[in-house]
């Protein structure tokens, strides 16, 4: 198990780790399989993260007043 795959899928690895992880990915079937499996999660988090009608250029997070 290589936990960096989650950070890679989410796009939050630091630059140096990103390069190294992609090289690792080339030869690790387990991480390749998890890369596919975890793909839905950031997309679903985007529904929470991004305001649907964002019109400002700085893309503020969704307003969450009850």
């Amino acid at each position: 198990m290589h936990p960096e795959v989650a950070a890679y899928v989410l796009g939050v690895l630091d630059d140096a780790d990103l390069q190294a992880f992609e090289r690792h990915l080339d030869s690790c079937e387990r991480c390749q399989s998890e890369l596919k499996e975890l793909q839905d999660v950031p997309d679903l988090l985007d529904d929470l993260k991004l305001q649907p009608s964002a019109s400002e250029d700085d893309d503020p997070p969704i307003s969450m007043s009850r």
């Binding site: 690895l13 080339d26 988090l45 649907p52 997070p61």
Partner: protein, 176 residues
């Protein structure tokens, strides 16, 4: 023909072929994350195609894996772009798991409620690393500094947190 020009010609052809294969679906996917900024989305797709061409050995993977890789590359490019755009100091309230967006009748708002609910069900350790990284466009080392824990711990908690979140979202029928 001059070898250099021949090479460029070949590169252009291969990038064109990548566009034909992946460009449309990738653009539709990326647009959802650029706030419908089409120009930005097109730039992201172009940069993704160039990177795909540079690592064309990965295009030999099976199609599902190639697609997952391209989505991941594009996602990172969008995040880097958003970080650059918001480089000026500002403090906005980030999404918190214990608040719920106002439903506006669209699928995305409904999905956001389900995701917020699932996040709330996670342990605090798992929830906070997801909030401090992806939801705030922060890298592992930035989140590690804020949380006062080693980067390796952030990576590990993020892995288990994301797996747990995916399990919950699958149970709710929103993840594949």
């Amino acid at each position: 023909m001059c070898p250099v020009l021949g090479h460029l010609d070949d590169m252009e052809h291969r990038i064109q072929a990548l566009y034909e294969q992946f460009g449309g679906p990738l653009l539709r996917h990326v647009r959802k994350t650029t706030g419908n900024d089409l120009q930005w989305a097109e730039d992201v797709v172009q940069e993704t195609m160039v990177r795909a061409w540079r690592h064309s050995d990965r295009l030999q993977w099976e199609p599902g894996l190639v697609w997952a890789w391209l989505l991941t590359v594009a996602r990172r490019i969008v995040i880097d772009g958003r970080r650059r755009r918001s480089a000026r100091p500002r403090e906005v309230e980030p999404p918190e798991a214990d608040t719920v967006p106002v439903p506006d009748g669209c699928d995305r708002a409904l999905s956001a409620i389900v995701v917020a609910d699932a996040l709330r069900s996670l342990s605090q350790e798992h929830r906070e690393v997801i909030e401090q990284t992806y939801l705030r466009d922060r890298t592992i080392s930035e989140a590690a500094e804020i949380l006062g824990i080693p980067p390796g711990t952030v990576k590990s908690r993020l892995y288990y947190g994301i797996r747990a979140l995916r399990g919950l979202l699958r149970d709710k029928g929103v993840a594949g």
